[in-house]
């Protein structure tokens, strides 16, 4: 990471094959490994939490039920009654991203949401799903959305390209937002951690000064916990909003 006076803030995002030659052959890096860990954590949380099936839930069961209700209410309130069908998808999306963000904050871990390929894939999945649902529900009327209702026909040559552009920019903004937030957070954590090590090399005065970046990193960790949850929520709620437009008649 930090060697001497150089800060390698981006080295943490490098992918390395795990499980030796097998991982290399299967293109299996630490990123899919963390995806599996995240998925297992989400599933274990629900299975272990709901095992008592108690009428009066304990802490873990209450937490699992709150997570369920939170996403369920978000999906149904935002999308409407049709949201019930998309609820498992939104739930998977939210907790996949949330677990990825949070697991990435652990030392020696890896945040797969900091890879633009992953976030673009997730955003394209949402985008393609919303387009498919739109075409299925609205048919050809879907294309009428590109001409805002009530606008003068003369403005159509201007408005239609803008609307199409704004529609196509959805997956871009969706993916870049998550990717950029995660990268920025991890880069800052890396940089302040490197500052600590560099200051520690300056002798006694450096040892004292090195406390500063550590304190900042503690605060950054709190910020990253907020950002990790917020970005997962933004991704999920925007998915719900796109799906609402898709199912609206």
């Amino acid at each position: 990471m930090a060697a001497g006076s150089t800060i390698d803030a981006l080295g943490q995002f490098e992918l390395h094959p795990v499980l030796g030659g097998l991982g290399e052959a299967l293109r299996f890096s630490q990123s899919p490994l963390m995806m599996i860990v995240a998925s297992v954590a989400v599933l274990a949380f629900l299975y272990v939490g709901m095992r008592p099936r108690a009428v009066v839930p304990g802490r873990l069961q209450a937490a699992a039920e709150i997570c369920y209700d939170f996403i369920h209410d978000m999906a149904v309130d935002t999308i409407g009654p049709e949201g019930r069908a998309f609820f498992p998808f939104v739930f998977t999306l939210f907790f996949f991203i949330l677990a990825g963000n949070y697991l990435g904050l652990l030392p020696f871990s890896f945040a797969f949401t900091s890879h633009v390929a992953v976030t673009v894939a997730l955003a394209l999945m949402v985008f393609v799903l919303s387009v498919i649902v739109s075409l299925k529900v609205q048919g050809a009327k879907f294309f009428a959305h590109f001409m805002p209702a009530g606008a003068p026909a003369a403005l159509a040559p201007l408005l239609v390209p803008i609307e199409i552009l704004s529609f196509l920019s959805r997956p871009v903004s969706l993916s870049i937002r998550l990717f950029a937030n995660m990268v920025a957070g991890h880069v800052m954590l890396e940089m302040f951690a490197a500052f600590t090590i560099m200051l520690a090399g300056l002798g006694l005065i450096g040892d004292v000064l090195a406390v500063g970046p550590v304190v900042i990193n503690v605060a950054l960790m709190a910020l990253e916990l907020l950002v990790g949850a917020l970005q997962a929520y933004v991704f999920a709620i925007l998915t719900c909003i796109y799906l609402r437009e898709a199912v609206a008649h």
Partner: protein
């Protein structure tokens, strides 16, 4: 509400995004940083695309497990809880209704018992009053009869007494006249004179 929250978040996110985007660029531009660029954009590395393929598989498996197994499990627990609570509330409501009707019945029974008792008391008092009245009347009637009979007896005795008194007076007067004058006076004259005197004295 969800919509305004979402738009707020979008606004915040749109503010944060350029900031977040600018940071890695600044880091890359910083002196001493390695100039190889971001590993995320190193698409020559097969692992970058590999994680997308793996991610798709993992996401699909997670989705299927969640939607087929884990989430229905949560749903069933929540549904059974709703049912349990609903049933318990129903039972409680029924019990309350039963208790209310029992209390009503009790009040009703108490009221009717009170009314019955009052009627009994009234009847007994009325009967007693009537009996007393009748007894008084009978007593009065008997007393009146007895008084009447007694008066008749007194009157008969008086009449009898008065009748014998006249005879005694007549005989006494005749005997007195004979003793005083030595002459015998006719009985009719004596009787007429005595009668006259008795009438004058109020007998």
């Amino acid at each position: 509400m969800a919509r305004s929250a979402a738009s707020n978040i979008r606004r915040v996110a749109s503010f944060l995004t350029p900031l977040a985007l600018a940071l890695p660029v600044m880091v890359m531009a910083a002196p001493g940083a390695r100039a190889v660029g971001m590993p995320q954009l190193d698409f020559a590395n097969p692992l970058v695309i590999g994680q997308v393929v793996w991610g798709a598989v993992i996401f699909l498996v997670l989705y299927l497990l969640l939607s087929r197994s884990a989430l229905p499990k949560v749903e069933s627990v929540l549904t059974s809880r709703r049912q349990t609570i609903g049933n318990d509330l129903d039972i409680a409501n029924r019990a309350k209704a039963e208790a209310d009707s029992a209390v009503d019945e009790l009040h009703q029974a108490r009221r009717s018992a009170m009314a019955e008792a009052q009627a009994n008391v009234d009847k007994v008092i009325e009967d007693a009053r009537l009996a007393a009245l009748r007894q008084t009347q009978e007593m009065n009637a008997r007393l009146a009869t007895e008084i009447h009979e007694a008066e008749q007896r007194v009157s008969a005795a008086r009449t009898a007494a008065l009748g014998s008194l006249r005879q005694i007076a007549d005989e006494t007067a005749q005997a007195l006249v004979r003793q005083v004058t030595g002459a015998s006076v006719p009985a009719e004259t004596v009787a007429r004179t005595v009668d006259h005197a008795a009438t004058a004295r109020g007998f």
